[in-house]
């Protein structure tokens, strides 16, 4: 019963919430569709959190996505032990980068009074879910290797069965507890997504990657521009 709830019902609740709330929020509160950047409040420590966190998370996202879309090719790649090791080590490095980044972001947020004031309860929820996901993901990578090889024959068929509206929960209910927590955490993440600042992912300024550089330079201190100062 609990398994049905977690692996067959939760996914649909999460996806419906993701779609409906994202659309509603974009239409009704477009200016909240942002990362609510705190760079202006603190930028020195931000590098040590934000950069490894984002690079690691993007790599992990695409790693999982590639396994989901091309399971057969991933299985073929993993057929040679050294290639399997390279893929696993890359995934582990991405996971550790994300962990370093997330810890950096949490330390930064706790250490600055200005940031603490600007931290909402949904931010704390995001940190918690992300931390659970990263810790369980690393635990799987180290304790139940080789995840990239068995993921394509357990979780991937399960995910496709969910996509076909015929969830085959037996594909995952026998996995170790930590892997099941990782899957439930992923659906929780999807469900929470549109209530949080994570929505900035949906409006990421991808063209910035190839647009010409724009330099913004202040050549005077701000107080000189203010009348009366």
């Amino acid at each position: 019963m609990l398994n049905t709830l977690l692996f067959a019902v939760l996914p649909y609740v999460a996806v419906v919430l993701f779609l409906l709330v994202s659309i509603h929020r974009y239409r009704k509160e477009p200016f909240t569709f942002s990362s609510l950047s705190s760079q202006f409040l603190e930028s020195r420590q931000l590098f040590w959190g934000s950069v490894p966190f984002h690079i690691g998370l993007v790599l992990l996202f695409f790693g999982h996505l590639i396994g989901f879309l091309f399971p057969s090719q991933v299985t073929m790649w993993n057929g040679v032990p050294v290639r399997l090791f390279i893929l696993e080590a890359s995934g582990l490095i991405a996971g550790l980068l994300t962990l370093v980044g997330l810890v950096g972001l949490i330390v930064r947020r706790l250490g600055s009074a200005r940031l603490r004031i600007n931290t909402s309860s949904t931010d704390i929820g995001v940190y918690l879910v992300l931390m659970v996901q990263i810790v369980t993901g690393l635990w799987i990578a180290l304790g139940y290797r080789w995840g990239s090889a068995w993921y394509t024959h357990t979780a991937v068929p399960y995910l496709w069965s969910v996509a076909r509206f015929a969830p085959e929960i037996e594909r995952v209910v026998e996995l170790p507890l930590v892997a099941r927590i990782h899957i439930v955490g992923a659906w929780t993440f999807v469900g929470l997504f549109s209530f949080t600042r994570l929505v900035h992912l949906l409006v990421a300024p991808v063209p910035y990657l190839w647009r010409p550089v724009q330099l913004v330079i202040w050549n005077r201190e701000r107080r000189h521009r203010r009348p009366g100062n």
């Binding site: 590098f47 399997l84 490095i93 068995w150 024959h153």
Partner: protein, 288 residues
Amino acid sequence: MANASAWLSLASTLVLSGTLIGAPIQEAPAPEGPQADPALVDLYVRKCASCHTVGKGARVGPDLKDVDQRRERRWIVDLIREPSKMLDRDPDARKLLQEFNGVRMPDLGLTAEQANGLADLIVLASRYPIDLSPAFVAVTEATAEDVARGRDLFTGRMRQKGGGPSCSACHTVQNAGGFFGGGTLAKELTHSFAVLGDEGLDAALANPSFPLMKDVFADHPLEPDEVFALRAFLNDANRSAGTDPDRLDILIVGLLGTVVVILILNAAWARRLRGVRHAFLPKRGSQS
């Protein structure tokens, strides 16, 4: 329905045997037992034979010969159909579980009709010589090529015909996987040949009934020649096992890699989020 037809078939055979006993002695072939339904025999070989025999001794689970004389029909059918429930609730089933080292019979996903049919078949095979063993060639006939092929199948270097995952995705064997080793999701298999024996391993590979493996291989069964090669390899692994070889620790590789990436990011990009103003203010201070 299948139950009734099997009993009817058994009764008619017994009646026929009685008729023959009363008849004059002729040069006729010895009377054969009733024919078992080939579909049921196939089902038994796929689902039951890895753990049970009928009259050939206990294996992973008990010998099923004459089980109908020890247990009630309903108990047998319930155990075949929903072993997990029975093993949780029924005192006799729990006693058997203890007797057989706590190895739980998995739920096989059988219908009531299939469970009844298997119960009939077991009763029939207890009375008449019906062959319920899977086709089997012992690994004593394996060559060095078979062992090498088994190793390649194990590590995934050679893809299985059915498209299943390589064994090393989840299992480790001491002399496979080279410097990197196999997976740790499931049991270490270096001595699996000694534990399960040739026939047990054959059944376990051909029709896996282990929790996760049975669902993974339901869609990607191993071919008989692949099962043979893997048995040959596991036999070799068991015989040649020594001390654990040195493996490259992925945690150390991961930690070193992470430090290197962070250093590269720092060298190439550290100023990115620090704002242009930070750089200008000290310059301005030094000019004034």
